[in-house]
């Protein structure tokens, strides 16, 4: 039975279900910041879709912990920036959703709020995040801010990588520069120079993916350059491209994975592990203990796995 429920319900329920099924131990986040008692100088804003790749926020938290920085993580559909409503051209709801989230951040009295998803950067920017009493940036800026301290903790990562990036506007160019600065800081890392690793638009969205021919060309080039991995700046690029390891033997890593390797932080990659099983049946079997523990309807979960993991 396909998931026939309508748009917002189907998408947000998929985020909740798949996010819960893939969540690693240790990932804790709030869906609502209480009015009192949750002050935090730093808030990591987990976009809704980043729940599919929980290694990304968890590593962000662990890398910051290595620096002695504590961060409050807020997530779930309750913290959607409004991009989904924007996609459906519900601009009133987009605005309302964005303002609810930005106002919610204020309850933690943060100095800085960092988002994982570039869509959130764009939507918050369009709805006046600059007028709020905190600084909002993409999370890559935060690692640049602390890069010297991170460097001091790094050990060699002897891997040859091809960087994938997006440069459609100044913000994404900044993220691309940040990623390159982070990767350049990692001792032992050999950064190859591809000609075909530029992604389309703001990031590799499910709804506007990198065209298959371009994707094939990027991985053919990575393989021909002798790359051990393709490194991406965003969770969404990671989601779209990690399946290509099956065909080209080139693993895809989020840039936080590389940082974690350099800092000796262990991590798992539940999304990639599931995607590389290469069938919905196999993923259902792998997740069956959790599906049963949480009492989920298997047919519904199948549809959600197809939508979230095999999109």
């Amino acid at each position: 039975m396909a998931d026939q429920r309508p748009s917002y319900t189907a998408i947000y329920e998929t985020v909740r279900t798949i996010g819960r099924l893939l969540a690693p131990e240790g990932l804790h986040y709030l869906t609502e910041i209480p009015p009192e008692g949750s002050e935090s100088e730093l808030v990591i804003h987990l976009s809704c879709m980043a729940h599919y790749t929980p290694n990304v926020p968890l590593l962000a938290q662990r890398i910051l912990a290595k620096l002695g920085l504590q961060a409050l993580i807020v997530g779930g559909p309750e913290n959607c920036c409004g991009e989904l409503h924007k996609h459906f051209k519900d601009h009133d709801l987009e605005k309302q959703t964005a303002k609810i989230v930005m106002s919610g951040f204020r309850r933690a009295k943060p100095r800085k709020v960092v988002s994982i998803c570039p869509d959130c950067d764009e939507v918050f920017g369009a709805h006046g995040v600059g007028r709020y009493p905190f600084q909002h940036t993409n999370i890559s800026d935060l690692f640049i801010e602390h890069l010297d301290r991170l460097k001091a903790e790094m050990r060699p990562v002897n891997v040859r990588i091809v960087p994938h990036f997006h440069t459609i506007n100044a913000a994404r160019q900044r993220d691309a520069q940040n990623m390159m600065s982070i990767l350049n800081a990692v001792p032992g890392l050999q950064i190859l120079e591809p000609k075909h690793a530029l992604g389309p638009g703001i990031h590799c969205q499910t709804l506007h993916p990198m065209p298959p021919a371009d994707q094939e060309r990027m991985f053919e080039e990575a393989r021909s350059l002798g790359a051990d991995a393709l490194v991406v700046p965003y969770h969404s690029c990671y989601r779209q491209h990690c399946k290509m390891e099956l065909k080209y033997g080139v693993p895809v890593h989020h840039m936080f994975n590389i940082l974690a390797m350099a800092l000796g932080i262990p991590f798992s990659e539940p999304f990639k592990e599931m995607r590389l099983l290469d069938s919905v049946d196999a993923v259902v079997e792998a997740l069956r203990p959790r599906i049963e523990r949480y009492g989920y309807d298997e047919q519904l979960v199948r549809a959600q796995i197809a939508r979230a993991i095999f999109c």
Binding site: P6, Y8, R16, G76, C80, D90, L93
Partner: protein
């Protein structure tokens, strides 16, 4: 004390969701599979517009963040969050009446 307020006739409420002001209250009168329900027009989470809910049986889902409320269970939120306030509805001689003092909303259950 009689708190039943007439909100219209049955013809005013065909299948679907309908906004209705009763004094300063904004309610949604819903007819779902022929049955009438009444509930607050604003989601208890972030004041999302419940008249724009997505509908699945007697479950209404706020379009802002997909909090899901079961109208068969007095507005219970299906993920364990705060419940939606619901009101008793009855039909008398073709007139639809809402008991405006019958508001039922349980506290945050999470």
């Amino acid at each position: 004390m009689d708190n039943w307020v007439e909100v219209g006739t049955e013809e005013h409420f065909p299948e679907g969701l309908h906004m209705k002001a009763i004094g300063r209250r904004q309610l949604v009168i819903a007819r779902l599979n022929g049955r009438l329900f009444a509930f607050d027009a604003l989601c208890p989470h972030a004041q999302g517009p419940m008249e724009r809910s997505e509908i699945e049986g007697a479950i209404v889902t706020c379009p802002l963040h997909a909090w899901r409320f079961d109208l068969e269970s007095e507005g219970k939120e299906l993920h364990g969050y705060r419940h939606l306030a619901t009101y008793q509805v009855k039909v008398m001689e073709g007139r639809v009446l809402v008991d405006v003092e019958s508001k039922r909303a349980q506290p945050h259950a999470a």
